[in-house]
């Protein structure tokens, strides 16, 4: 860590790096959200189901995010816990139109919150109630009820209604996440 690095950091030229985990069931829109947050020239056109995980980078106004975009398929979900230690924040994506699998999302969230690497850390969690554009989508309030988010007492959390295809609601969530991470750091 040279003097130059610190100097550039102070001047705001070099942004602080944070590691974020992006979790959620398969087909909830994790990769689409991350893709939409990247600069428009780096966005890919077609999104395919993620295998294993992929690492993506994007910048907000004051932070540089490194996102672990985990696959949500059932057989890859046991990979998640290996990255809990590194994560400084969690983005949890929910398909608001999939009423049937809301219990599965809740189950995975409960497993996440009770994991020893997460349980005692004050790690910010951002929820995206995604796919708001679909006709049978439920509201973000209903999603937070179904997932019993009010029971999370020891971690800052926030839920955003989003439509990843159009990019609605994403910036609001990322701004909240940035504030939280900076609040923890200072």
């Amino acid at each position: 860590m040279g003097l130059l690095d610190r100097l550039s950091g102070l001047l705001g030229l070099k942004k602080k790096e944070v590691h974020v985990l992006c979790l959620g069931l398969d087909n909830s829109g994790k990769t689409t959200i991350i893709n939409k947050l990247k600069p428009s020239n780096a966005q890919s056109q077609d999104i395919v189901p993620t295998i294993g995980f992929s690492i993506e980078k994007f910048k907000s106004s004051s932070l540089s995010f490194t996102v672990f975009d985990m696959s949500g398929q059932g057989r890859y979900r046991n990979l998640w816990e290996h990255y809990y230690k590194e994560g400084q924040a969690i983005i949890f994506v929910i398909d608001s139109s999939d009423r049937l699998r809301m219990v599965v999302a809740k189950e995975e969230l409960d497993t996440l919150l009770n994991h020893p690497d997460i349980k005692h850390r004050r790690i910010p969690i951002l929820f995206f109630a995604n796919k708001m554009d679909l006709r049978d989508a439920v509201t973000s309030v209903k999603v937070s009820q179904l997932l019993c988010l009010e029971n999370i007492k020891d971690k800052p959390w926030h839920i955003c209604a989003s439509d990843a295809i159009k990019g609605e609601g994403l910036q609001e969530g990322v701004d909240w996440l940035q504030d939280q991470i900076q609040a923890v750091k200072t």
Binding site: G74, R101, V103, D136
Partner: protein, 643 residues
């Protein structure tokens, strides 16, 4: 009996409480209005979009309005009426072309309706059967108006009862009609030639020539005229025809049609027939002791549920492997296949609202539902593998999702015979003496029994005589003389100096009486347990630890009305061992029915821990023979030993 109890203890272990349940409750709608059986449920990716849909051949609330329903998630996507009650639903791939969306086949009446992309695609009808010539003749006569409807009805009824070839649907419907409707029916139908078609009872799919998951499959149909048909997946021609001795109701197939396959058909005569590729007739037959209610193949084991509330496992050659008893009648069965863990198990829906999951004989899990389960289906639904769909008798729909982390474990060592059965008994060698003795027993069995009976009667006689003697000499605490009906009950108690005082403060009397009695034991005269019908009764009780005991006699006048006056109580004891303040005293007037407690203290004099018997006699003034007597076994004085 043993099987039943072991399965009960099984259920206790395999049954998990809400919190640690293996299942997530995704959806429950008690008013979903779905009335169907397991055979009419199918799961498939009908649109090729990765979202698996549920196909339901719905019988309607009272079997009146059959419908084909397709569900996506908890909601009904499409619904269309069916011409007849559905018998079975299946999904299968018809051809190799892309996109590989499966077709839906629904067997109903004599037809199989095939849908692609949820649009009607093809209707296969079973081939026509030759009609009964007599019936044909009758309708021909009706056509030429040579016969009136009433005679036609009578003639047809005659045919129905006797002929080997059953009547056509047209004639059967005619026989159901009222007199007024007959004329119109005949004039409407007489010009049509009569057709006889059988109906489909069951349907399943069989891979054509590849064992792959997404290989082209043939439809296999079971019909009411005891035949099995295999249909070509593209042309819907009959590829093979097999005949059975009875009507098939459940089918289970493995293998490929072009290579080798095995077909098991559970039939209405209570037998399961097993056929192979080359056999036109059954190769093996499993005779069940009851009617089958379900047939599921788990790997190589055929599991049959029977009306005797049990599951049976058979090999594909018909050898019986095991039987498990259920707590209630089986209503439906289906296969549970968890591909990620390579598990196959049988689910059985029971009349008591349980769904039991068995892997061979071992109970893996019990799911309780609010209503009796009529159909079960497990597989990929929506985007979730391992989804269980349950419909109930009241038309409810339950969707449960197996947790990702859930592992089915067999409930401990209850599998197989109990461990005691495997233990080797040390059977003694057959000695010469043993053999001789056995032979003698075999030859002279009657004589031996007689000798034994004689001895037994002698013993009983002696016991009765001793009892009578005891009664006559008043050696008992219950008087038998009608003039002095009395009952004595004696209790000895020690007012303990060390413990008793505090106890008395803390607890009122009943506890004080209880505590020492349990330690020192009370000596209730054994004869005192004889119940009096008339006369008096005596019970004696000793309480305390020693050296001072309290002896309480309970004396009761058991006569109905007459009081007793002038009785005496006398104690006979060893004066070296015991000291009593009053060894002889008068009894007050005894009112009928009341129990009089007569207390006296007994001081144990010996410090050697010896105890003796104290005799209690109840006498009448002026008579030497006692009315009642009791022997009190005094306890050893523990107070002395402690001091």
């Amino acid at each position: 009996m043993a099987a039943a109890s072991s399965s009960d203890s099984d259920s206790g272990r395999a049954e998990s409480n809400e919190a640690s349940s293996k299942w997530l409750d995704a959806h429950y709608d008690p008013m979903a209005n779905i009335h169907t059986f397991s055979s009419c449920l199918a799961l498939a990716d009908l649109h090729g979009d990765g979202e698996y849909k549920l196909v339901v051949g719905d019988l309607g609330p009272s079997g009146q309005h059959p419908r084909l329903k397709v569900l996506k998630g908890p909601t009904v996507l499409t619904e269309s009426p069916l011409p007849a009650l559905p018998a079975a639903a299946a999904t299968f791939l018809m051809e190799q072309h892309e996109p590989r969306t499966p077709a839906l086949a629904l067997a109903s009446g004599p037809c199989v309706y095939v849908y692609k992309n949820l649009r009607p695609y093809f209707k296969f009808s079973l081939p026509q059967l030759p009609p009964n010539p007599l019936e044909q003749d009758l309708w021909n006569q009706a056509k030429e108006d040579r016969i009136d409807p009433l005679t036609l009805k009578e003639m047809l009824e005659g045919i129905r009862e006797k002929a080997e070839v059953p009547l056509s649907v047209q004639s059967l419907r005619f026989l159901q009609l009222e007199l007024s409707e007959m004329e119109a029916f005949v004039s409407q139908h007489k010009s049509r030639s009569i057709k006889r078609q059988t109906v489909i009872t069951t349907m399943t799919t069989l891979k054509k020539n590849l064992a792959d998951e997404d290989a082209v499959s043939c439809l296999v149909l079971g019909t009411e005229n005891k035949e099995l048909l295999v249909l070509d997946p593209e042309a819907f021609t009959i590829l093979a025809k097999m005949s059975l001795p009875s009507v098939p109701v459940f089918l289970e197939v493995s293998g490929q049609f072009d290579v080798e396959f095995r077909l098991a058909a559970a039939c209405r005569n209570g037998n399961v027939y097993i056929l192979r590729r080359d056999s036109k007739h059954p190769k093996y037959c499993i005779e069940l002791s009851a009617q089958p209610v379900g047939l599921v193949r788990v790997h190589k084991v055929l599991v049959v549920g029977s009306t005797q509330e049990s599951l049976h496992g058979f090999t594909h050659k018909g050898k019986k492997l095991w039987t498990v008893q259920m707590p209630a009648a089986i209503l439906t069965m289906n296969l549970l296949e968890q591909r990620s863990r390579g598990l196959q198990a049988v689910m059985a829906g029971l009349a008591n609202g349980e769904v039991r999951i068995y892997h061979d004989k071992a109970l893996l899990n019990v799911i309780r539902t609010p209503d009796a389960v009529t159909s079960l289906c497990f597989g990929r639904y929506g985007r979730e593998d391992n989804t269980l769909i349950i419909t109930t008798r009241g038309g409810g729909l339950i969707i449960k999702i197996l947790k990702r982390t859930a592992v089915f474990v067999e409930a401990g060592g209850v599998v197989g015979p109990p461990p005691a059965q495997a233990m080797k008994l040390s059977v003694p060698r057959k000695t010469r003496l043993y053999v001789d003795q056995t032979l003698r027993e075999r030859e002279a069995g009657t004589a031996m029994h007689r000798t034994f009976q004689t001895d037994l009667y002698l013993l009983r006689l002696q016991a009765a005589r001793a009892y009578v003697r005891a009664l006559e000499s008043s050696l008992n605490p219950v008087s038998v003389m009608a003039r002095e009906p009395l009952k004595l009950h004696a209790v000895a108690q020690k007012p303990s100096r060390r413990v008793g005082h505090t106890l008395q403060l803390l607890w009122p009397v009943p506890c004080l009486r209880q505590a020492p009695r349990s330690r020192a034991g009370h000596a209730r005269s054994r004869l005192g347990t004889f119940l009096p019908r008339t006369g008096g009764a005596l019970t004696a009780m000793v309480q305390g630890l020693g050296p001072t005991f309290k002896l309480t006699l309970h004396l009761q006048n058991t006569s109905a009305a007459r009081p007793i006056l002038g009785l005496l109580v006398c104690f006979l004891y060893n004066e070296v061992l015991y000291a009593l303040p009053r060894a002889f005293f008068k009894v007050p007037l005894l009112v009928p029915g009341l129990i009089y407690p007569l207390e006296t203290f007994v001081e144990s004099l010996s410090d050697k821990g010896i105890s003796d018997i104290i005799k209690v006699l109840v006498l009448r003034e002026g008579q030497s023979a006692p009315l009642l007597s009791a022997h009190i076994n005094m306890p050893v004085s523990e107070g002395l030993a402690a001091a």
